[in-house]
Amino acid sequence: MEKEDQVYRMLEKVYDPELDQPLTELGFIDHIAIQDHHVEVVFRLPTYWCSPNFAYIMAEDIRKYVSELEWVHSVKVHLLDHCASDEINHGATKGKSFNEVFRDLSDGDLDELRKTFEIKAYYARQEKLMKYLLKNGMTKKEMIGLSLQQLNELPLSEEGHLLRDKYLEKKRALNHSNTLAFTTPEDKQLSEEEFSFYLQGAKRTRMSMEFNAHYCRGLLETRYHLPSND
């Protein structure tokens, strides 16, 4: 595979944590430049004001994943047109922690924020799959008792397959060990009484993420005069 393709393959693993979508799909990667063993990744965001913490998470992940390629010796991350471009580019390229870079404005690193948004992404993906299964005739009771193995064996449409894969990917990221298919982010079993309430909560989280996605995509298109992605 060409070096450029390899880099893009790694960038597919970098997600916007608020939107739960890869940067490559969102149009956030402006371009990459490769010189021997050095890679520069130039990326852009929908506004000049996008939250620096989320921008930093993306910058850190770009560096982390691209560095995993064996032939890569150094990665330069370059965020364009942002109110904290200088701090983010310098810090992420040097591998500094967020707290080191924004010492006066923060009181810690980004681990908690990453975790919060991992859980939100879990809820959002789970809700989509649950809604899909309910629509296709599964009852709440069946869903609560469904085992992971049974979920894996369900014959699903293409859409269903995709939703299941996405959900299970997040479930693995949260290190769940329960044998049930649908558990809370803490891996606890759901009860029949709380099921509807739980699903409503998950729906609101999914809606917030979708709002961000609609909005951010549109703003990026307008900001950089891109064709609409709809």
């Binding site: 924004f102 924020l113 809606m207 961000n212």
Partner: protein, 349 residues
């Protein structure tokens, strides 16, 4: 006022408008330029094409343009100014209390001029708040918690100084606190859009009304949760309602969630003029019907009665406006003739 086909009157209050100066001459630095550019992207991203403004008009428009867009073309009977400082970005600030005040004197009973404050201004700011109340008779305050001030990139409503300012509002009878959440509130390593501090403030100050502009988006789930707990928390629809053109189904989901969690008495219309013109938003909102599946799932109703509450009745209550008395006061307003000529909408209800 909008008259429906069967003669029913809808009194409209646009609860979120601005008269700003984002011009090159007023910009202090690149941040000022980027701030207004970002607004312009919002404008172009969600407006129908026939409502696009040229850049030069967008950065600075004159007061009569506002009157025409909001009160004449835009159906509103009244509108509320929500100014912000942004003094680190603009030489004279972004909003202008005097310009708003002048308009409200030029067209009596049409405008409510809210103010703004910044708890980081300390004692001096508290004294200033008193003076401003005296001078402009502020009924409400717009808070922009992401505003920069010196090295600070924002503040929270749960900060000690914020509480002192809210206490002062309560004492002065400034009852309506409109909060916009922007993306740079410290500490920066946390979720910058978190609305949890509104919860804290709303329970500390039960006599004040907290109108969360943009219904807490992009954290709708947190907002709904807080609004369910605190009865003095309201949802301002500015921004969310502008999705009605490009993302109608998504708007249906939002509005039905809000109706489900908050009930129909705590949702307030605002166009966020001049980011968007109220005319197209109101027309589309009046025509809007919830898709059947969404209605079935949430069991909420969005009929004309509910729309009337959202478009005016709810916010009228917060600002002690008696709608029938207000109609009387506006009977001889010079704008009526122009309004009548343009307001040809006949909603089919």
């Amino acid at each position: 006022m909008i008259q429906t086909a069967n003669g029913e009157e809808i009194f409209v209050i646009d609860a979120h408008i601005a008269l700003w100066d984002g011009s090159k001459e007023n910009q202090l630095n690149i941040h000022g330029e980027q701030f207004i550019s970002c607004f312009y992207d919002y404008h172009k991203n969600l407006s129908p094409k026939e409502y696009y403004w040229p850049w030069d008009k967008f950065v600075k428009y004159d007061p009569e343009t506002l009157v025409n867009d909001v009160l004449v073309k835009g159906y509103a009977d009244m509108a509320i100014f929500q100014p912000v400082y942004l003094k680190e970005f603009y030489k004279n600030g972004f909003g202008d209390f005097d310009a708003n005040d002048a308009l409200s004197k030029r067209y009596p009973n049409r405008f409510i001029c809210n103010g703004t404050m910044d708890p980081r201004h300390g004692e001096r700011g508290l004294e200033n708040l008193e003076k401003m109340k005296e001078k402009y008779n502020w009924q409400g305050i717009k808070l922009y918690t992401a505003d920069w001030y010196g090295n600070s990139k924002g503040y929270k409503l749960s900060d000690d100084w914020s509480k002192r300012y809210l206490e002062k509002c309560q004492e002065l009878g400034i009852k309506n606190i409109h909060i916009h959440k922007g993306p740079t509130v410290t500490p920066l390593n946390r979720d910058a859009f978190d609305v949890a501090d509104v919860d804290d403030a709303a329970s500390c100050f039960p006599e004040l009304n907290f109108i969360v502009e943009h219904v807490g988006l992009p954290r709708l789930e947190d907002f709904c949760w807080i609004a369910t707990q605190e009865k003095n928390v309201y949802g301002g629809l500015a921004v969310a309602i502008s999705l009605i053109h490009t993302r109608p189904r998504y708007f249906a989901e939002i509005i039905s969630e809000l109706l489900y969690w908050l009930d129909e008495d705590r949702i307030i219309f605002g166009s966020d003029y001049a980011i968007w013109e109220p005319k197209w938003i109101i027309e589309k909102f009046l025509e809007f019907e919830l898709p059947e599946d969404i209605q079935e799932e949430t069991g909420v109703t969005l009929d004309l009665n509910v729309k009337k509450k959202i478009l005016g009745e709810n916010v009228a209550r917060l600002y002690n406006i008696d709608i029938e008395a207000q109609k009387e006061k506006l009977k001889n307003c010079e704008l009526n003739e122009r309004k009548a000529k343009l307001n040809e909408i006949k909603a089919n209800f």
